[in-house]
């Protein structure tokens, strides 16, 4: 083996090492991504039902002259709705009956808050099933500026985004190792041709 061959061999050794470690690091996220693919398929079935809402009525102390937005933000803080960020100004609305409402979201589902009369607040919790939870959580990433106020979601976002890049790296490094070591192996060639042809056909057909 010449000098160039040894250099290539060493490069492949380290690339394989990185491929293994990155794959192991991202393994749990990749399983979540795969399960969310099944969940998306399951949720798109005919007759899929919306999650049932569980309603809870609570009280709060009204303040004179408090604006709708200020009240909504105060209620969000007092109700301590888990994993949710405070409502943006534009989601605070009054419905046709004049009732103040707003919605907040988390990977566990949507929470609809309404104030039917001063001092009374109703929280409707539409908690999603496990399949939809996986679907939501696989898409939860760091957004900028960071809206998440909960440390669990911030940590998951970082892990998820790293894993997303890891997936890209695994695909590229896998192809690179294949081409560098056994480019004429028939099984990978068949897989690659089938994958590329079907993907291009579907992208073209969807255009």
């Amino acid at each position: 083996m010449g000098r160039r061959g040894r250099r290539l061999s060493r490069a492949i050794h380290w690339l394989r090492w990185a491929h293994v470690l990155v794959g192991l690091q991202a393994a749990a996220a990749l399983v979540v991504y795969a399960l969310s693919g099944f969940a998306a398929t399951w949720n798109a079935r005919p007759g899929a039902e919306e999650p049932q809402r569980r309603s809870e009525t609570r009280s709060y102390a009204p303040r004179e002259g408090e604006s709708d937005v200020a009240l909504a933000k105060r209620l969000h803080a007092e109700l301590a709705l888990p994993l949710t960020a405070p409502p943006e100004d534009w989601v605070v609305k009054r419905d046709a009956a004049g009732v103040l409402t707003f919605r907040v979201y988390s990977p566990n589902g949507m929470q609809h808050v309404s104030v039917p009369e001063p001092g009374v607040v109703v929280v409707e919790d539409a908690r999603v099933d496990l399949a939809t939870f996986l679907l939501h959580i696989h898409a939860h990433v760091v957004s900028w500026p960071v809206h998440d106020t909960d440390w669990r979601l911030v940590l998951w976002s970082v892990y998820n985004e790293v894993s997303m890049l890891a997936l890209l790296g695994l695909a590229v490094s896998g192809i690179a190792m294949w081409l560098a070591t056994r480019p004429l192996a028939p099984l990978p060639i068949a897989g690659f041709v089938l994958g590329c042809a079907s993907c291009l056909w579907l992208v073209w057909g969807s255009w």
Partner: protein
């Protein structure tokens, strides 16, 4: 199973899934960082006339599909002041259609997706019960790639276990990251 056979199988599954995974990963990065998108879309406006005086939304869609290649899912429709409004969408295009019920005249606003938006829409495509055959084929590909991803993880772990030199460091990486992810998932789900 022999190491070489499993390695070739791992590689073949990975090679099949690679274009899909790259598409999903690139669109995921794009969705996570919306500044990376290119929001410009091309809009076309054109007119047609329904030959048979059809007014049923699905029949109108079918007629336009046959005559003007308006493929996609009929996402909404409503009738207002004698005008039928239809929305049809597929990952690459959206159509806003107005049909004059009296004359059968059709006005269409066609919006073409940018490549980034096309990837975004494809990322969200799923299901095996769509009206569009291509959408169902994409849904089937999603199931195949999800199965492939599970096989890649299982096969990758198996291959790693077959390499004694890498076991110790790998075990630390796999154990730490899996426990970390599982703990977070449980903590978030139970919140």
């Amino acid at each position: 199973m022999k190491y070489r056979t499993l390695r070739d199988l791992h590689l073949a599954i990975g090679a099949f899934c690679a274009p899909y995974l790259v598409l999903y990963a690139v669109s995921a990065v794009q969705m996570a960082h919306p500044r990376l998108t290119f929001p410009e879309r091309r809009e076309l406006a054109w007119e047609a006339r329904l030959p048979n005086g059809e007014r049923d939304p699905r029949a109108v869609h079918e007629a336009l599909r046959a005559s003007h290649d308006v493929r996609g899912e009929l996402t909404s429709h409503r009738s207002e002041n004698g005008v039928l409004h239809l929305a049809v969408a597929r990952p690459g295009r959206r159509y806003a259609i107005e049909v004059d019920a009296a004359t059968g005249a059709v006005r269409v606003k066609e919006t073409l997706s940018t490549p980034a938006f096309l990837l975004n829409r494809l990322h969200h495509g799923s299901g095996l019960w769509n009206r569009e055959p291509v959408a169902n084929a994409w849904g089937a590909a999603l199931v195949a790639v999800s199965l492939g991803l599970l096989a890649l993880v299982a096969g990758g772990v198996w291959l790693w276990l077959e390499r004694p030199k890498e076991r110790r460091v790998g075990l630390v990486v796999l154990g730490t990251s899996t426990l970390f992810a599982l703990a977070l998932l449980v903590a978030i789900r139970l919140a």
